[in-house]
Symmetry: C2
Subunit: 310 residues, 2 copies
């Protein structure tokens, strides 16, 4: 069961602390795909992937390290946060079911509360209250507002004490689909056109449910950009977003000149795009040669293949 | 270095002989992705894949088994053939260079000649004479014409005796790019339209260099089909073929209703299709999440990832 974990910690200024958290995460079966630290945000994000149990163990080690090293009473940054370990979502990869990621989140949350005495909120697909699906809602008031908030019935955590950890606050542990960051450049410098396209496409203003979109003035290209997040690429796939951008831009005689997939993208999002545009309605992922050589779920050569690779 | 080997043997009627050849091929590091036997053709095709050395060793064992069990003097089938082991091409997968597959073909050819006394012709990208790039040319005259042909200078094999093996004939060993079999159904029952589209698209009649195409009357769909082979999907990619089919069909007011990718397809062909249609001109395969988890070239977890998977 392959999963990704995009763990957010409230440390972006002391490189030795970021390194200690990353070192804690490393271990057998865990791939550290990315580490990014931002000094203004005072925050770092680790992208971990591998087998679920190994990734959950790595997330646990990183959270424990962050709780030991970060003191939120001393922390000021531009990014909202409520904990030393702030947000820990598990993301299913390949055929892994979301329920498996929810179970990982629940187990990690229980352990954090039990062994570190840090209160835990379950969010996203792991939420036990509808209001907690939304991370922004869970984190409202941030670290400084946590003590007051936790005394109300609506603020009782899912695991652990009904009071913040004195230096580490609280942590949101959850499960969510993989995000795809997808930008489209338009053959125009007219910000009004890009605004109109972004507004038509994004879900919050009547467009596609799974799309967040903003017009961006990207001077490096000398063109306007529609910057999108696809929050559930299975429900709202890349071609659905791109075709809508193309159509809305065409109203103004504007074309898409290029797109950009930012950072990591699940293979399934790309295979679904190829299948859509090739009209290969009955295509199966089993037909992909290289994938037949390995069992993605276990990272081992496929079963029945005559033994391990030399 | 991942490779595929699509080995063709002149046995499609005795299941126990096909099974013996397949069993001989199996071994550590070899994935038997497909076995197909055809009674009319009196021929079977094994699709093997894995690390080059392991696949070459598997091909060697299968060839030796076929040479021991098949007597071409008793063999009649509809498919042209000149050997018990008839054609053994190595196909590069992933980033494997063609030169590596040529080297595998040369080493296997030498061994077949030395240990089995079967003459070997190198063909495709492994050909040492331009005329031998084309398999049909190498196999002209088939098993029955081999003895006469081999006495001419043009018929001298690349390895082994200048006379056919008495029961196993000769074998063509080579290297070639992966084939993609790709069919497009048209919104018409008019065979003349499908013929015109196929003729416009296929290289031999002035169309795309890397495309073979035929009009097929596919009654199961109640529609005409353009059946294509893309012989070098890097030079002539899937979108190039499909867009040309669409354009030529549109001349007749006909649309593509669906396409079919037949059998196995290299991942690169699909990723290139997604990149083309999404206009993601600067996309890199390094951005694919699942591929970051493993080193496709070795089928081992990526280096520097903290140790082997449990």
């Amino acid at each position: 069961m392959l999963v990704e974990c995009v763990a957010n910690f409230s440390e972006g200024r002391r490189p030795e602390v970021v390194a200690a958290i990353v070192d804690a995460a490393r271990g057998p079966g865990v791939h550290v795909l990315d580490v990014s630290a931002d000094s203004d945000h005072h925050r770092c994000v680790l992208t971990l992937a591998g087998e679920g149990e190994a990734v959950a163990a790595a997330a646990w080690r990183a959270v424990a390290e962050a709780v030991a090293r970060i003191n939120l009473t001393q922390h000021r940054g531009t990014h909202p946060r409520m904990g030393a370990a702030d947000v820990v979502p598990f993301v299913p990869l390949g055929d892994t079911p979301m329920a498996y990621c929810v179970a990982l989140a629940e187990a990690l949350g229980e352990r954090i509360a039990a062994e570190l005495s840090v209160p835990v909120y379950l969010y996203g697909d792991a939420a036990r209250r509808p209001s907690r699906r939304d991370l922004a809602h869970v984190r409202r008031g941030e670290f400084e507002g946590l003590a007051a908030r936790m005394q109300k019935p609506s603020g009782v955590p899912d695991f652990g004490p009904a009071a913040p950890h004195p230096t580490a606050g609280a942590v949101a542990v959850g499960a969510r689909p993989a995000l795809v960051a997808f930008n489209a450049w338009l053959s125009t410098t007219d910000e009004a056109v890009a605004d109109a396209v972004a507004r038509a496409v994004r879900g919050s203003s009547g467009g596609l449910v799974g799309v967040k979109a903003l017009a961006m003035n990207t001077t490096s290209h000398g063109q306007m950009q529609v910057s999108m997040n696809l929050v559930d690429f299975r429900a709202t796939p890349l071609p659905a977003a791109l075709e809508m951008v193309r159509r809305e831009a065409a109203r103004f005689g504007v074309a898409v000149t290029e797109t950009e997939i930012v950072g990591m993208v699940p293979l399934a999002a790309l295979l679904a795009s190829a299948q859509y545009y090739l009209q290969a309605h009955h295509f199966s992922v089993d037909q992909v040669l290289e994938l037949g050589l390995m069992d993605l779920a276990s990272l081992q050569p496929a079963a029945g293949a005559g033994g391990p690779m030399p």
